[in-house]
């Protein structure tokens, strides 16, 4: 077959340097369009007592993947609703058992927790594996090659080490976790090569800690003057309601703003670091330039929009977030992007992934 890659985006529209060219990630989802999809899916999920939520999940993912375009090719989400439904039913049953046992029998519950400790690494692996295998680009699937032993090390043993060193080793632990996740990503027969530097995690952690001290310190000082000024401390009748109406509101707002900033700072720096040091050899390198302040504004405004719309702004915030991330990402592609071989076998159920989500141990890729 004398097939050449003659895609429309391949013409000299992008600047060429030797055999690589810089390609943008485009996201074409629209808030209004996704709102209709989302709200109708939520309605159907409620009236079918949750059964339809499997279809809702597939359609939501198809919308986001299908609207993510690199080099003129769209991503695709391949899972079927039945896979999701089976996995979700199993996961919900396990979750119900877990909450019932820990709620009713606290001591027996501890034994259950111990079982869960050994189950978690497996769940995380299964979740990553399923999600990646169900993702494809140019008809080639992604996959995940991590093993149980490595996952147990990263998600159980190392965090324990981090805790007993009074969190001094925590940045190192986090870098190891990210290294495990990203270096085990495969695209067809290509392995993602990552060069994660622990130093970057320590610098980021230091900035986060410093910012927290200064920020929360300032907040406490302002609070103190406000409380003293209102004379609330002068008498014994410091009424709780007054506290929450005045200074308390200030605290909550300050906390949310500071929280958004800190979360943006960490996520932006780490994402940039990981992607800027990742590559599929002879295929593509990544570039990420998420800026902290715009990202913090995005997190903050998204949070406020969801809160004040009682959740109805969720679709709009999801689209904004996806567009922001896409805009901050570029690829440096080699000429031979057409030479990747798909090596995937079929994957049946999504139990691990569903359980990982429901137990909130879901690990998502930036």
């Amino acid at each position: 077959m004398d097939v050449t890659d003659s895609n429309q985006m391949e013409q000299p529209s992008a600047p060429q340097t030797n055999s690589t060219r810089t390609v943008a990630v485009e996201f074409s989802g629209k808030g209004g369009e996704f709102f209709g999809i989302w709200i109708v899916n939520v309605l159907l999920s409620i009236v079918t007592l949750g059964i339809y939520s499997a279809w809702a999940k597939v359609r939501t993912n198809q919308y986001f993947y299908g609207n993510t375009v690199i080099d003129g090719h769209r991503f695709a989400y391949l899972a079927t609703p039945m896979q999701i439904l089976k996995g979700r039913l199993l996961a919900v049953a396990l979750f119900a058992c877990y909450t019932l046992v820990t709620g009713l029998f606290p001591i027996a519950g501890m034994a259950f927790v111990l079982v869960m400790v050994f189950l978690f690494p497996w769940l995380i692996n299964q979740g990553l594996r399923f999600n990646l295998r169900m993702s494809s680009y140019r008809n080639v699937r992604f996959s995940f090659a991590g093993t149980y032993g490595e996952a147990f090390m990263c998600f159980i043993v190392l965090p324990f080490v981090g805790a007993i060193t009074l969190y001094l080793a925590m940045p190192w632990v986090l870098s190891k976790i990210d290294e495990y996740i990203y270096s085990n990503v495969r695209y067809g027969d290509k392995q993602l090569k990552v060069d994660i530097k622990t130093g970057e995690y320590y610098i980021t952690a230091l900035i986060v800690v410093a910012l927290s001290f200064v920020g929360f310190g300032l907040l406490a000082i302002v609070m103190g003057t406000m409380v003293a000024g209102s004379g609330a401390l002068s008498g014994e009748a410091m009424i709780l309601e007054d506290f929450f109406n005045g200074a308390g509101l200030f605290i909550v707002v300050g906390y949310i703003v500071l929280g958004s900033l800190i979360s943006a700072l960490y996520k932006a720096r780490i994402r940039n670091h990981i992607l800027n040091n990742s590559e599929f050899e002879q295929l593509t390198k990544f570039k990420s330039n998420v800026e902290v302040m715009p990202f913090a504004m995005l997190i903050l405004t998204n949070l406020l929009a969801v809160l004040f719309s009682f959740g109805l702004a969720f679709p709009w915030t999801a689209i904004r977030q996806a567009r922001f991330m896409a805009d901050a990402t570029q690829l440096e592609m080699d000429a031979n992007a057409a030479a990747v071989i798909d090596t995937m076998e079929e994957q049946k159920a999504s139990f691990g992934e569903e359980a990982a989500e429901i137990f909130d141990v879901d690990v998502s890729l930036g």
């Binding site: 097939v3 050449t4 890659d5 003659s6 895609n7 429309q8 074409s28 629209k30 369009e33 209709g36 999809i37 709200i39 109708v40 939520v42 309605l43 409620i46 009236v47 949750g50 279809w55 809702a56 999940k57 359609r59 198809q62 919308y63 299908g66 609207n67 090719h73 769209r74 695709a76 391949l78 979700r88 996961a91 919900v92 979750f95 119900a96 909450t99 019932l100 709620g103 009713l104 001591i107 027996a108 519950g109 008809n139 067809g188 014994e236 009748a237 969801v306 959740g311 109805l312 969720f314 915030t317 999801a318 992007a337 057409a338 030479a339 990747v340 071989i341 798909d342 989500e357 429901i358």
Partner: protein, 341 residues
């Protein structure tokens, strides 16, 4: 009549791609690229993936190859009443904006609590026994200290308790009274689902001169046990968590926000109702013992007095989890009047 669909053809098992066209002619579809007809297929042998607004369709071939259309509006076949048309139906979207919050409220505030409460009655006794036993072990180790109340006073309290239980036809084996000191609970009393009743030193001191008031507080706690309130709470939180997981399983953010605020609201409403039930139980039993509801009112009043005197946050622990104290006092004082009518 034939249709031409522009798009990209992806070869099986590789990332090779080529600009291509599908010619749709009745039941037959032919694939063209690089100016030649490459193959033709029966419409039924092709699968149309991804029919969702704004996303171009994908056609899957039996050999694993794929065709992705260029125009997001084009569909190979568009059956009526497809999910896609539901999701774009303006009136359905507007109806959903109204129906979703209403139904969600109904499921979380009405359906799930009822389901939980009625299912609790079918649980075997062993469940509440084990639950109480294990909870007591943990509470004892983490939040209770040995009592400093004099032995004689403790004995008297326990004797009085035994007499009360017998008078009320309640099992003295089930409702065992324990006295503990506790910095954590402050002046407080609680009962566990298996009937273990604990009163703290601070509460004994606080109601020292009024044994009927202490009794009223203990009867209130027994009311919780008789009505299986702890079990209902667990059943309630599990069922609403499961309902949320089923409906919002994958929707991050919104699920967490609603789960965070929603479930605490439900829980506090649930617990206020429970407190009222327990109050009613205590008042009815005081009546049965030939004692006045005033004893209950006095106990409540002493909490209020203490709060006024010290403004101590420890005391708020009792008040915070209970309904408006003045309301409870008034209710207790009026109880006799109501019963007589």
């Amino acid at each position: 009549m034939s249709r031409l669909i522009e798009g990209t053809y992806y070869f099986p098992k590789s990332s090779q791609a080529v600009d291509a066209q599908l010619h749709v002619n009745g039941d037959m579809v032919s694939l063209h690229y690089q100016g030649q007809c490459r193959n033709s297929y029966h419409l039924a042998s092709l699968t149309q993936h991804i029919t969702i607004a704004g996303v171009p369709m994908e056609v899957g071939f039996a050999d694993g190859a794929k065709f992705s259309a260029q125009d997001p509006l084009v569909r190979l076949s568009s059956p009526r009443n497809s999910l896609e048309s539901f999701e774009q139906n303006k009136s359905l979207i507007i109806a959903s904006v109204v129906l979703v919050p209403a139904l969600l409220w109904f499921v979380m505030m009405v359906l799930m609590p009822r389901l939980a409460q009625s299912s609790v009655a079918y649980l075997p006794d062993i469940v509440s026994q084990q639950m109480g036993k294990q909870a007591f072990e943990i509470i004892k180790r983490t939040m209770l200290e040995p009592s400093v109340t004099e032995e004689a006073q403790q004995q008297q309290l326990k004797r009085q308790w035994q007499d009360t239980l017998i008078a009320l036809d309640l099992s003295p084996e089930k409702y065992t009274l324990h006295v503990y000191g506790s910095e954590f609970f402050g002046p407080n009393a609680f009962a566990l689902p298996d009937g273990t009743v604990v009163i703290t030193d601070d509460l004994i001191t606080q109601l020292d001169d009024n044994s009927d008031a202490a009794l009223a507080v203990l009867l209130h706690e027994i009311g919780h046990v008789e009505h299986q309130h702890s079990l209902s709470m667990v059943a309630q939180s599990v069922s609403s968590a499961v309902a949320f997981a089923m409906i919002f399983g994958d929707i991050e953010g919104i699920g967490e926000i609603l789960l965070g605020t929603g479930s605490t609201l439900i829980q506090s409403k649930f617990s206020r109702n429970m407190e009222r039930e327990a109050d009613d139980y205590a008042l009815a039993k005081l009546e049965q013992l030939g004692k006045s509801g005033d004893a209950f009112a006095q106990a409540m009043q002493s909490f209020l007095d203490l709060k006024g005197k010290h403004g101590d946050s420890q005391l708020l622990k009792y008040l915070a989890s209970h309904p408006d104290t003045q309301e409870r006092i008034d209710k207790a004082k009026n109880y006799r009047v109501k019963v007589k009518q």
